[in-house]
């Protein structure tokens, strides 16, 4: 399996069967160094099984994987030395303190003694756990446990970070912190493999996204590319004064390449005395034409926005295929 120098993960027809259930089915993908790669799918889609195979903690039934050019099935320990995995549940020993938890994993990962304490203190500080460093994990809230688990994942400064549902069950503030942490890792050139079913999260954070259903890869690419899978024309939303609605509808219907113009119910616009018109058959590139037509005819535009398919549109369309 040939791999470009900056490719860190490659899978080729990777398959895992449990009994009669195919958890991962013929999965082929490549991930480049420094990418934030979204792995999207319902619960049971095969995300966790894929992470396990990529780290050599379960063996594939068929197919192959390469991580850093190594085969996880035979060189799992060498792969795992350079990866960090946040498991779906924090998997922390409630009898240890936060500091002891991080020290324990720092020792297992052979973090050099001279930097160990500094690294632990930095992570406790980054994840706002410094004041609970000596508290037992058993007394931690769900958010604190998740933050500590994230700190543990990063204790050895891994090159690839696998995050399995990192924001599941967290409050909005904690979610924001996790998102900032992922962006921080990305800026530092780390590769992030983000398993999630949170579409907004994936859309916001990921460079590329793979959509998985029942273990099968449905699509892979950036959101624009995935959007092309949708058999749906783009639209532009235009907000005009409610008193200008009939004139605006007539004007836009006559403006090429608009195929159709129709008024849309929008409470936010209505509250401000406006009305939203959806223009069909036009996209981002047609915005100047629409603006020019409005200005030329003395129509006041309060807002104009090209509407492109969201990840949510793409995801549900793919699931229905």
């Amino acid at each position: 399996m040939g791999a470009a120098s900056n490719t860190v993960i490659t899978t080729e027809r990777l398959t895992r069967v449990f009994g009669g259930t195919t958890a991962v089915n013929d999965l082929s993908l490549t991930i480049e160094a420094g990418e934030v790669f979204g792995f999207l799918g319902h619960n049971g889609a095969g995300k966790t099984t894929t992470v396990r195979m990529l780290n050599g903690v379960i063996a594939p039934t068929a197919g192959a994987a390469r991580v850093f050019g190594l085969n996880p099935a035979t060189d799992g320990h060498r792969v795992r030395a350079r990866t960090g995995v946040l498991t779906e549940t924090p998997a922390l020993d409630s009898r240890l303190t936060a500091f002891d938890t991080l020290r324990y994993f720092a020792e297992i990962y052979n973090v050099p003694k001279q930097v160990r304490k500094r690294r632990i203190d930095e992570l406790l500080d980054f994840f706002a756990l410094s004041n609970r460093a000596d508290s037992k994990v058993g007394g931690f809230s769900k958010g604190m446990r998740q933050r500590l688990a994230l700190a543990r994942t990063l204790i050895h400064d891994p090159d690839i970070i696998f995050l399995d549902e990192p924001t599941s069950g967290l409050d909005p503030v904690a979610i924001r912190d996790v998102h900032q942490m992922i962006e921080h890792l990305s800026h530092r050139g780390r590769t992030v493999f983000l398993c999630t079913h949170n579409l907004a999260e994936a859309e916001r954070l990921c460079d590329r996204i793979a959509v998985l259903a029942h273990g099968k890869l449905l699509a892979i690419g950036d959101i624009q590319l995935l959007g092309s899978h949708l058999n749906r024309s783009h639209t532009i939303s235009v907000e005009v004064d409610v008193n200008d609605l009939p004139r605006a509808l007539h004007l836009f219907a006559q403006t090429p390449p608009v195929a159709r113009a129709e008024a849309t119910t929008d409470r936010a616009s209505a509250r401000n005395g406006g009305v939203l018109i959806t223009l069909h058959g036009v996209g981002r590139r047609d915005v100047p034409k629409v603006m020019e037509a409005a200005m030329h005819n003395g129509l006041n535009l309060y807002r104009i926005q090209p509407e492109e398919p969201s990840l949510e549109d793409v995801y549900f369309a793919l699931q229905e295929l």
Partner: protein, 272 residues
């Protein structure tokens, strides 16, 4: 072998096990009953019997065959006094082995099955330790407390037994060669055996209690030793203890080979 990782896991297993009530209670209560309670109770009864000059029983019938030289060594003592010394030095010897065996089994159950039960095994599986390192670390983390409880029990028992034999017969009897062999040759082997069996059990069950219960079954052969000796079928001589230790170490090798076969992270994780 990545020794730093191995020691980190073993040290953590010992340290958290000793903070767990379900682990600590048997580690305290069983030695107290076995190494203190029973010898003191039997000693008090024997002492009273000796002082009250209770009608003697035919000791030869009860304890035959006596170890060679035993009768001559304790000539002049009454039957209750000789009987107590025989009880302390020989009859009770197999019971002592319950200590290291039970201690390592309970810590191993917490370390292996407990890790599954607490769902902390997954985070450990994702570390760069190899299966061999992980197994070795876990074995070390259970064997050390098992052996330590054995050594500690030996010291406590020696003190208690000497106090009581002095009370009963004004004799100091321990340590002797037989008990030194038990403590430093057979005891560590018993600890290894108890944890080896528990490791195999842990790979098939999901809770600490299940693993501990299965692991505790290895105590049963020791009960047979006690009964066999009490019935006069054999007597623990030094050579028999050496052979018993040897047999246990050989058995340990077999058990650990089986344990290594059952301890593969790919198999364990596939079951999670």
């Amino acid at each position: 072998m990545n020794w730093e990782s191995v020691w980190a896991i073993a040290r953590k297993d010992v340290s958290v096990a000793l903070r767990t009530r379900a682990v600590v209670l048997p580690l305290v209560i069983v030695p107290l009953i076995l190494m203190v309670g029973i010898p003191v109770l039997v000693g008090l009864i024997s002492g009273m019997a000796a002082r009250m000059d209770v009608a003697s029983v035919n000791l030869d019938e009860l304890t035959r065959p006596l170890p060679s030289g035993f009768g001559a060594e304790y000539a002049g003592l009454s039957d209750p006094q000789v009987g107590y010394i025989y009880f302390v030095v020989y009859l009770f010897a197999p019971m002592y082995l319950i200590l290291p065996l039970m201690a390592s089994a309970v810590v191993a159950a917490d370390s292996f099955a407990g890790e599954k039960e607490r769902k902390t095994l997954e985070s450990l599986a994702y570390t760069p330790t190899t299966d061999r390192e992980l197994l070795f670390a876990k074995i070390l983390g259970a064997w050390i407390p098992g052996a330590m409880v054995g050594f500690g029990g030996f010291i406590v028992y020696s003190i208690v037994a000497n106090v009581m034999t002095y009370y009963v017969a004004e004799r100091i009897v321990l340590p002797n060669a037989l008990w030194l062999l038990l403590a430093f040759w057979v005891g560590p082997a018993a600890a290894a055996f108890g944890l080896g069996v528990t490791v195999i059990a842990s790979s098939r069950v999901n809770t600490f209690q299940e693993a501990y219960q299965i692991g505790s079954l290895v105590v049963l052969p020791l009960v047979l030793l006690v009964i066999g000796q009490a019935a006069g079928a054999f007597i623990l001589s030094i050579w028999l203890v050496v052979l018993l230790g040897l047999a246990l170490w050989v058995l340990d090798v077999v058990v650990f080979v089986l344990a290594a076969a059952s301890f593969r992270r790919t198999t364990l994780m596939a079951r999670l």
